[in-house]
């Protein structure tokens, strides 16, 4: 909406028009004059020397006077006035061919400004930050307790307006919950507050929300926009990048209320802190969130220049609220940033290890990245623990234990027989493995020698293929590759130390049967391997294939069978290593058991599992009555896994095993910053990366801002930059951050352009308030929660969005802040709100990106590698929008339709469109249809026995946090009747509708009633009010 030009033109002016409409009023340079000069004059008479005409600049008073534009002796005859008032095309300013012209109002402002002495002011955002006095307003008894209100009320009373009253309590709780948590409150909370509506309980509510983990998720969302966080690299193949641990770090930082100065320093320079913690290194992922390429034929130099500019733009927008990007090719046209400032700022990042093209192509060799392909990650990365993954592993194990705990042993004899055999086996083979005996030969062709340690050494040109005798039941196999002295201590037959591939194929030769029987593998892993990657992620375990690690060291691989295999006399196991004849020494062992840690297969040891598995159950233990299953959970687990006694249960366990493996021991890689010798930074003339003639620059902050101390003249670092940003004398950062925070709670910053604090931006409507907030922020120890609390406990925040028509007319754009502003929910909140109302929302925090349903084929235009989108399983399908997989080239259509940015570049303000795609999404996206069905099921389960009216009342309470009025109820009752008739006549349609999605919330309910109600709920989820925060 803010980009709609006609409105923008109207809305940018009000503050100045107030002054302009009163002919005698004093004009203020910052408020009234600078916007006109900047927009109409600076292009040719501003900071950029390359464009400057006649040597005149109007942004510096001395020059304007010296050049005669302003005549201090005879104000009325200043050349500037003559020329702006002239209608001679050759003389008038701005000249006609500039396509710029002055309005009468603007001409009047400039005239009065000069008449009043042509006073300049330092630009508001660059002026030193001083804490303004709180206006003295109201009488001693009713003086506003909250300073924010004092500043705002002062403006309202100066304009003789009446502010809107406080919003009603229900609206307020919903507003607060949406703003602080990004989620709707529960009806109980709302009614509780309504019954106890006072300032103390409001403050309690605020503090309660500030302490909830969802607060961090809400606060992180706009931050992720400014740091352009995404899960893919953006350019060309748009491959995955591992960054989500950074997203979780940011959420945690807000929840822990990390001081904003530390928050800043850790992201920009965590790696340069003394003995950085892993978390501080995770934070430096920030420096790596620029778009990257792996395109063949891309020029490293060109892309390094792109990454360079991207970082300058991001730091500039995120912390300085400035458009330094404009100075890439020339000095800034409107603001004092020079091209040198741009390159000097970028030079801070010259030590960040990176590659222009993340691959090793013949035409752009990168020896560091040898062997890379499109599935590889984007180094450097570090590993970090994820609380989400660790918790997920625990809960999955818990689930397995519960499954096994419920398992009923059908035959005590069977169990005891199994336990006896295991006990006997473990007596002979305490480590759980029995080394297999090779059968003489296959067709007498194989040549190998058997060693004393049970291994077999292959030599010559023979295939690594052998048959093994192993009577009894086997559940897993261990393959050890052993170096031998003859091969120069290598596991390779040719004595080399390079990795090689083997693809062991394990089959059974049943006695007397020609055809070999394949053994399906459940899981496999090796203690040493060359990592294999799939779309940026190192694959867990090994599949059938396995690439050894370099160095010739011994390897152990373990394969767990999908189900235990019974071998009879005369049966043999056939092993074909399919290794291109590389394996030298090999030792094969079998076990009737499976490793108890699916995450750690190659560490199979005779531990508690095996010790426990041997205990025979005598049926007399004290828990025999209540627990008829023999032994403890571990024993039962071993029994189910290695006896094949219950294949269905085994399959359930194995499905969970796979999920545990996917949790990768609770660790994840994440992009990080590694500091290396800084590369040379030159000023690129016109931004041309091939022009190497420019001057070399050292890291430096913009020349016109307070400079960091550097007495010994050393090269400044990212740490210096970060500390400079949060230094006491930095005028911009606290203002910029507070302005964005204000935007979060009022829909618009105190300065409307939160991404441009320069001359072309918008002067703040309440400059003193902004300065007071910025000072308070800094002096509070950069305490974000403190500032949030101040804002949301103000009366200004709590005002109604509704107001009298006088106010609407006099202050259409709400410059006075005499009322609140209704705001459409952000894309993520639209989703979260629907899920919460439906009762589907999953509350987990953090973890790998989730993938909600997406139209098929949406990634068809992505290649290198080809992409297949797989919906997250039901366990993760209903998590919050902030966790959605953020594909820069093809952002999920639901997110895109509701104006979430692709995050290719830093974004400080989101669009807020209102278009038919949004309607189509809420109406037809299966995710929202499923929410409607679940919501309907929720209504029917809670109020199924009650009247339709009270069902509708309940639905409104859930979704809109208010009671429906008589008219709304009447209309929906009527609709429900119509819908019931529709679905009564077409029960198949009813079933089709309620089967949408994975949740199956409506099980057990009458399909016709549920389908009819699902459509009523679709109506409610589609209401403008549902997706608006009032």
């Amino acid at each position: 909406m803010r980009f709609c030009i006609p409105w923008v033109i109207l809305t940018l002016l009000p503050q100045t028009t107030v002054a302009r409409q009163q002919p005698d009023s004093i004009v203020q340079f910052n408020r009234d004059v600078r916007p006109v000069l900047s927009d109409k004059c600076y292009f040719c008479h501003g900071p950029d020397p390359a464009q400057r005409e006649a040597g005149l600049r109007l942004d510096i008073r001395e020059v304007a006077v010296e050049q005669g534009a302003i005549d201090e002796d005879d104000w009325e005859n200043s050349l500037l006035l003559e020329r702006i008032q002239s209608d001679d095309p050759d003389f008038q300013m701005p000249p006609p061919d500039s396509n710029k012209s002055l309005s009468d109002l603007e001409r009047d402002v400039l005239t009065r400004w000069i008449q009043q002495g042509a006073l300049y002011q330092a630009h508001w955002s660059y002026a030193p930050l001083a804490r303004p006095d709180i206006p003295d307003i109201g009488s001693a008894e009713n003086r506003p307790a909250n300073p924010i209100d004092a500043f705002v009320l002062k403006g309202i009373s100066d304009s003789s307006q009446t502010p809107a009253p406080r919003a009603d309590s229900k609206t307020l709780v919903r507003r607060l919950s949406m703003d602080l948590l990004g989620l709707p409150p529960k009806w109980d909370e709302v009614s509780e507050f309504v019954n106890d509506d006072n300032d103390a309980s409001w403050l309690r509510k605020v503090d309660e929300y500030l302490a909830q983990p969802q607060y961090g998720e809400r606060m992180a969302s706009p931050w992720l926009d400014v740091v352009r966080y995404a899960d893919t690299v953006g350019f060309h193949g748009d491959q995955n990048q591992n960054a989500w641990a950074y997203r979780d770090w940011a959420i945690r930082a807000f929840n822990e209320n990390k001081r904003f100065d530390e928050f800043t320093i850790e992201q920009l320079a965590g790696d340069l802190l003394p003995s950085p913690t892993t978390d501080q290194l995770v934070a430096t992922c920030f420096n790596r969130l620029n778009m990257m390429t792996r395109e063949g034929g891309a020029q490293p130099g060109e892309y390094l220049a792109k990454y360079f500019a991207d970082r300058v733009r991001t730091v500039s927008t995120a912390w300085l609220g400035s458009t330094m990007g404009c100075a890439e090719c020339h000095d800034h046209k409107y603001d004092p940033f020079t091209s040198r400032d741009f390159y000097s700022m970028g030079a801070f990042f010259a030590d960040v290890q990176q590659w222009g093209v993340y691959n090793d192509y013949a035409y752009t060799p990168n020896p560091d990245l040898r062997g890379f392909n499109n599935d590889y990650p984007f180094p450097p990365e570090i590993e970090t623990e994820s609380a989400f993954l660790i918790g997920r592993i625990d809960s999955l194990r818990q689930e397995q234990n519960e499954l096994v705990g419920k398992y009923q042993v059908t035959s005590l004899d069977g169990f005891n027989d199994w336990a006896g055999k295991i006990r006997e086996f473990l007596t002979q083979h305490p480590d759980g493995w029995e080394i297999a005996t090779p059968w003489t030969a296959v067709d007498g062709q194989l040549e190998y020698s058997r060693q004393i340690d049970g291994s077999i050494v292959f030599s010559g040109d023979n295939a690594t293929e052998l048959e093994l005798i192993q009577p009894g039941t086997i559940a897993s196999v261990r393959i050890e590759l052993l170096p031998s002295a003859e091969q120069g201590d290598s596991i390779r037959r040719d004595g080399k130390l390079d990795p090689f591939d083997l693809n062991p194929l394990i089959r059974i030769r049943r006695n007397g049967i020609e055809e070999l029987e394949t053994i399906p593998i459940h899981l496999a892993d090796a203690d040493r391997k060359t990592l294999d990657y799939a779309n940026g992620f190192a694959m867990s375990g090994i599949t059938s294939g396995w690439r050894t690690a370099a160095g010739g060291m011994p390897h152990t691989g373990v394969y767990v069978f999908r189900s235990p295999i019974r071998l009879n006399d005369g049966d043999r196991v056939h092993l074909d290593c399919r290794d291109n004849k590389q394996v030298s020494g090999i030792r094969v062992s079998f076990s009737p058991l499976v490793p108890n840690d699916t995450n750690d297969l190659h560490q199979m040891k005779s531990d508690a599992l095996f010790a426990g598995a041997g205990g025979e159950h005598d049926g007399t233990s004290s828990n025999a009555q209540s627990d008829p299953v023999p032994g403890d959970t571990w024993q039962r687990m071993a029994y189910v896994r290695s006896s094949g006694s219950d294949i269905e249960l085994l399959k359930q366990l194995q499905a969970i095993d796979q999920e545990i493996v996917n949790c990768r021991h609770g660790k994840t890689p994440v992009l990080t910053t590694k500091s290396i010798e800084p590369s040379e930074t030159r000023i690129l003339s016109r931004g041309n990366w091939q022009d190497t003639s420019g001057e070399i620059v050292a890291p430096a902050v913009p020349h016109f801002l307070p400079q960091p101390g550097n007495d010994d003249g050393r090269r400044l670092t990212r740490l210096d930059l970060a500390r400079w940003l949060v230094a006491d004398d930095n005028p911009l950062v606290a203002r910029v951050v507070m302005n964005r925070l204000w935007q979060q709670f009022f829909g618009q910053g105190l300065s409307a352009r939160s991404d441009d604090f320069g001359a072309q931006g918008a002067s703040p409507t309440h400059p003193e308030l902004l300065d007071w907030l910025a000072s308070e922020f800094r002096e509070s120890g950069w305490d974000v929660k403190h500032m949030v609390r101040l804002i949301v406990t103000s009366e200004t925040y709590r005002r109604s969005t509704q107001s009298n028509s006088d106010l609407l007319t006099a202050d259409a754009d709400n410059q006075l802040l005499a009322r609140q502003r209704p705001r459409r929910l952000s894309a993520e909140m639209v989703r979260d709100n629907g899920l919460a109302i439906a009762g589907l929302l999953q509350a987990d925090s953090g973890g790998p990106p989730i993938k909600p349903y997406q139209p098929t084929g949406y990634y068809a235009n992505l290649q290198f590698p080809d992409r297949r989108y797989e919906d997250s399983p039901v366990r993760d399908q209903f998590r919050r929008g902030i966790y959605m997989h953020w594909q820069r080239a093809f952002l999920h259509p639901m997110l895109a339709n509701f104006d979430a940015p692709s995050r290719e570049d830093c974004i400080a303000m989101r669009n807020e469109a209102n278009n038919p795609q949004q309607a189509l999404t809420l109406l037809n996206d299966p995710a929202f249809v499923e929410m409607s069905v679940a919501f309907a099921a929720r209504v029917l389960k809670a109020k199924g026995e009650e009247s339709v009216e009270s069902q509708i009342q309940f639905a409104y309470q859930c979704a809109l946090l208010r009671e429906p009025n008589e008219m709304e109820t009447g209309s929906l009752v009527y609709l429900l009747d119509e819908l019931k008739a529709v679905y009564d006549a077409d029960r198949d349609a009813a079933k089709a509708l309620i089967d949408t999605g994975l949740s199956m919330s409506g099980n057990g309910l009458d399909p016709v009633l549920l389908a009819a109600w699902a459509n009523v709920c679709r109506v409610i989820l589609n209401l403008h009010e549902t997706i608006t925060r009032y």
């Binding site: 352009r753 235009n861 709304e968």
Partner: protein, 481 residues
Amino acid sequence: MWNEPTTINRLNRRSFLQNSALGMGGIALSQLMASTVSASTRGGVPDVGVPGMINPLHFPAKARRIIHLCMAGGPSQIESFDEKPVLTEQNGQPFPDSLTAGQQLAQLQNTRLVSLGSFAKFAKHGQSQQAISELFPYTARMADRICIVRSMQTEQINHDPAQAFMNSGSILKGRPSMGSWLTYGLGVETENLPGFIVLVSQSSGGGAQPISARQWSAGFLPGKYQGVQFQSRGDAVHYIGNPEGVCQSTQRLVVDEINRLNGMLAGQVHDPELTTRIAQYEMAFQMQSSIPELSDFANEDASTLDAYGIKEPGDGSFASNCLMARRLAERGVRFIQLYHRGWDHHGDIDKSMPITAKETDQACWALVEDLAQRGMLDDTLVIWGGEFGRTPMGQGSGRDHHIQAFSIWMTGGGIRPGITYGTTDEFSYRVAENPVTMHDLHATILRLCGIDHERFSARFQGLDAKLTGVEKANVVEAIIA
């Protein structure tokens, strides 16, 4: 088929008395009226839709709509429209150093450069005697209709940024693409379709490169100007189909109810977005109703399908997309962009390029002829071309990316037919005469649509951003009829 009564009538279908008695205020109703029957009384060309920012136009418009046949990947000019006998003679010889010294290369970085002559033969076609290669026999048939520009230049040598530059005139993210600029400037002429629609097909012959949705982004312009990608197969638009188990009449009930309840709220609260929301739900329903008809090729006769070379309508092929482009043009869509991914011929160009050419040549011709027969070519500008061209130096059996000279063709709305504009040196390495930059092309397109590119800007980060950028761009007057 979906000739439903107006919103107001439907809202009142149940009981006008009930609603009005219970407070659905007169203001809300009149706003509703305004939002659904807007624009019908406006002067000027379109009688439906939304007016553009440039109103009135700076010049009389010669083109009302644009079909951009984007040959993604960068077709070789040397095997299409830029005949180079000298290059053919020097086939296999070292490529002149004097041309390439200090120049930017893509995959030919750090290699020995060798001339590669055209594998395709050229002939002169039509009365205009335009030189067109044998790979494009159908295009050759319309030699007298098209204007070939052999002197195109661009600034970006890799696919992704080059496409961004072609579309938005900038490599900075967040810049609007030309389709967005045009719908922003000219408005839309259709109420139930977006003004800017994109379709993508892929070659079966290799040479396909990925393409990002950023290429049709509205950037900093309002989201309603964003290009909407129609799927070449299946549902044309995301979420356009009703949910399973919801028929059109049930959907109508639901949409009516949403608008009725939103209307009630509009009578009670001050929220200007509410009336817009109501109008958008109506438009969404109209889109749902019209798109199945749009995608239904049943009323296209067999000879039309044959002319385009369509095996199966809606099969996702370029030919099928071309027919869809005509149907969209008929329905008033302003900017239609068809990407065919498959021109990135780094190797085996003599085997792959004929496949890609065959997949596109006939349908391009059929589209132009079809538009002409329907009297629409006069005010439809058709542009054929890629994001860049290919090197005269061989890359083994193929060609690398080349940005200093490449060819496109244009026809229809205001283009002078049957001419060739611009020349290159004897290797097709550099432009010899009449260079046309991407910004010049943009300026020319805008001029044909009645817009002075110098006076067409939108405010972004304090700057008056233009499609044609900061540097001076020139309208190529010589190719305008």
